[in-house]
């Protein structure tokens, strides 16, 4: 192997030997990474390229052939009221669910971390919604939110408040769905935060106390929050993605209604692609959806990455 790493030699023979070995290694490398390359191409790159391509066509499932229509689909998106509504709804939903589920999870995680005895019980309890099937749990929520027989409104009536028609009124439907979204994602974020909290060296808290951080808030500012930086970045990323992808609850509980008040991006794409079979148009929407996610992630990492990794 010595001649592989040696400097170029004036003698021809070792040079030839080196290229031969290098070639051999290169072959082996390609061979070994081939399965991964093929899988990556077939399952990730190809579908993305296909979606982008279809977005420039008027392809409709069931009709033979299609034409390239350039940016016509995108032009239509701009004037599509349903799409604009669903884009706005999705952003509002994400803007509610992401911060609340993150800060609620952080607060709960710190409470659970401080508690010695019930830790694993609480962890399991809060994680249950993550493990359960949302479609199945949606029926439970439908019952809970029912305006006349639902226990939530029954409880509100006890204290003299007339509860809203949670899922039935266009003014409240998105917030009701957001409550379900928070309920579902808090557990997951909480487990991530718990892991992050456990990894903080106890000595730092001791040092903070000796240094004069007398209140819990001071110690949170000085130790917990900065030390959780990497976890928070990850949790934020995951939460944004999962809240932008809200679909099951909308599909099972509201079908985008009433009056498109709970129309969200993924549901609109589903409607266009699988109900109206306008695959080209749905693909264009998907591209916009992907672009939004990518931009969000890039912006977020640009802002946060430098601040949370300290070495």
């Amino acid at each position: 192997m010595a001649d592989v790493t040696a400097m170029p030699s004036p003698v021809l023979a070792p040079h030839a030997a080196r290229t031969k070995t290098a070639n051999h290694e290169a072959h082996a490398a390609w061979l070994l990474s081939l399965p991964a390359i093929v899988l990556c191409f077939v399952f990730i790159i190809l579908p993305v390229v296909a979606v982008i391509t279809l977005g420039f066509t008027n392809f409709e499932l069931g009709y033979a052939g299609f034409q390239f229509v350039g940016f016509e689909n995108y032009a239509e998106l701009l004037s599509d009221r349903t799409f604009r509504q669903s884009l706005g709804n999705t952003l509002l939903y994400a803007a509610i669910v992401t911060p609340i589920s993150i800060f609620m999870a952080l607060g709960l995680a710190m409470l659970i971390e401080a508690e010695g005895i019930g830790r694993s019980f609480f962890r399991t309890a809060y994680f249950l919604p993550v493990a359960s099937l949302l479609v199945a749990m949606a029926t439970v929520w439908q019952y809970l939110f029912h305006p006349s027989i639902g226990p939530i409104n029954a409880m509100l009536a006890q204290i003299g408040i007339a509860g809203p028609n949670w899922l039935g009124a266009s003014s409240s439907v998105l917030y009701s769905l957001a409550i379900i979204g928070i309920w579902q994602s808090v557990g997951f974020n909480l487990v991530l935060f718990l892991a992050g909290l456990t990894a903080i060296p106890r000595d730092l808290y001791a040092a903070a106390q000796v240094d004069g951080a007398s209140s819990a808030w001071d110690r949170f500012r000085l130790v917990t929050w900065p030390m959780l930086g990497p976890t928070t970045l990850f949790v934020t990323t995951i939460s944004v993605i999962s809240s932008v992808k809200v679909f099951e609850t909308v599909k099972t509980l509201t079908e985008g209604g009433p009056n498109k008040a709970s129309e969200v991006l993924l549901f609109t794409i589903y409607q266009e692609g699988f109900v109206y079979l306008r695959v080209g148009y749905a693909s264009a929407m998907t591209v916009v959806f992907l672009a939004i996610l990518v931009v969000l992630m890039v912006v977020q990492y640009r802002i946060q990455d430098r601040q949370v990794h300290y070495t």
Partner: protein, 389 residues
């Protein structure tokens, strides 16, 4: 006069008694090393002193102030941790500034956006920056001020940790094995630096370590802690030459002291070979078992002759300026460690039969419960009288 005083500190965790009534006084400017094997409770005691744990009973006073129930932030103590516990997201300068920021700025003045608008905040921050720079200059870490802990070496981090502890001129300095994460060379160097800094600052220091050499070389007084009790508190030379307890003798000194099981004889003496000591307490019944202690440097090894007891050399370690000889006593089977000069050890080899001896004035006698018994060496004639009389 003591500036810091601990009285009857007790602490137990889940029914395990960790500290069993510890009392300790520190004089102004004193450097006390708290030394003991791991798990003896020395770190717990330090954390109680810092206010990070509360004692089950006992009191802590500093000057005329009772600290017992005061939380850590309210005590004027600083602590250096074994892991240094630097805040990884802050630069060295910010790390050193933390204790000053926490104490000099009000909560409102510390707020991120509103703080700078508070009256006086700017002046206080300028003062803090100046103090940090002065501290860094005296520790020779000025060039590190903009670095984060992740970009510093172990020795540099240790200095920053020292700086953070010293910057606010605490009334008491606590150090929890601050050198144990450094490599051997740096450790010896850092010992000298810490002693130097202590001398300049003149602040009473409690220094926890499991390394007896560190304790002996740095401290004004060494407190030996075994199993949750302070067995002896004394200057290093006294701890070494006059241990009050067998555990102290065992823990202090490298190589370890030789301990041999023995018995009190009819006439109230205890003997090792020809070396014989008379116990001061004549009430001890003959036949009572005691432990004889003999430091390796006082063990003599003769190639022949009649002095001493027969033994076989098992192993010889050459350490340059000295030679450590391990030999097995033929009668008792005990291993005897001797520290000799190279000249004394010349010609010894493993497997050789020798005679191991000691002089009576270097024998320690410990009772079965570990307490040291006072004993006086018998002079030769007296010894003979006793032996034949």
């Amino acid at each position: 006069m003591s500036v810091l005083s601990l009285r009857g500190i007790e602490k137990s965790f889940n029914g395990n008694s960790i500290l069993k009534g510890v009392s300790l006084d520190a004089a102004p400017g004193e450097f006390i090393a708290l030394v003991g094997p791991s798990g003896c409770g020395k770190s717990t005691l330090l954390r109680i002193l810092a206010g990070l744990e509360t004692a089950d009973s006992g009191t802590i006073t500093m000057g005329d102030q009772d600290l017992t129930r005061l939380q850590a932030a309210a005590r004027n103590v600083a602590m250096v941790f074994q892991s240094y516990a630097l805040y990884p997201h802050l630069t060295a300068a910010q790390n050193i500034a933390v204790p000053l920021v926490m104490r000099r700025l009000s909560r409102a003045q510390r707020l991120p956006l509103v703080g700078p608008l508070m009256p006086g905040q700017r002046q206080i921050i300028a003062d803090i920056k100046r103090d940090v720079r002065d501290m860094a200059a005296s520790l020779k870490i000025d060039h590190l001020l903009d670095r984060k802990p992740g970009q510093m070496s172990g020795g540099q981090r240790q200095r920053v940790a020292l700086g953070r502890a010293m910057v606010r001129r605490p009334a008491v300095f606590l150090m929890d094995e601050p050198l144990s994460n450094l490599d051997a060379n740096l450790r010896v160097h850092a010992r000298g630096e810490i002693v130097d800094l202590h001398r300049r600052a003149g602040v009473p220091t409690v220094y926890v370590t499991h390394d007896q050499a560190e304790a002996l070389s740095m401290a004004d007084r060494v407190a030996v802690m075994i199993g949750g009790s302070l067995l002896q508190i004394a200057p290093p030379s006294v701890i070494y030459d006059d241990p009050r307890h067998v555990e102290v003798a065992k823990f202090i000194g490298q190589p370890r002291i030789n301990l041999l099981a023995s018995q009190v004889e009819e006439d109230g003496t205890v003997a090792f070979g020809q070396a014989r000591v008379r116990l001061a307490d004549r009430g001890l019944a003959a036949g009572r078992s005691v432990t004889l202690g003999l430091r390796p440097e006082f063990v003599s090894i003769d190639r022949d002759g009649e002095n001493g007891l027969p033994a076989r050399v098992e192993r010889i370690e050459f350490l340059g300026s000295e030679i450590i000889v391990y030999s097995r006593m033929e009668m008792s089977g005990d291993t005897m460690i001797a520290k000799l000069t190279p000249a004394q050890g010349a010609g010894l080899f493993a497997g050789m039969t020798v005679r191991v001896g000691a002089s009576a004035k270097h024998l320690f006698v410990f009772a079965a419960d570990g307490e040291r018994l006072s004993a006086a060496p018998l002079v030769k004639t007296e010894a003979r009288e006793v032996a034949y009389g």
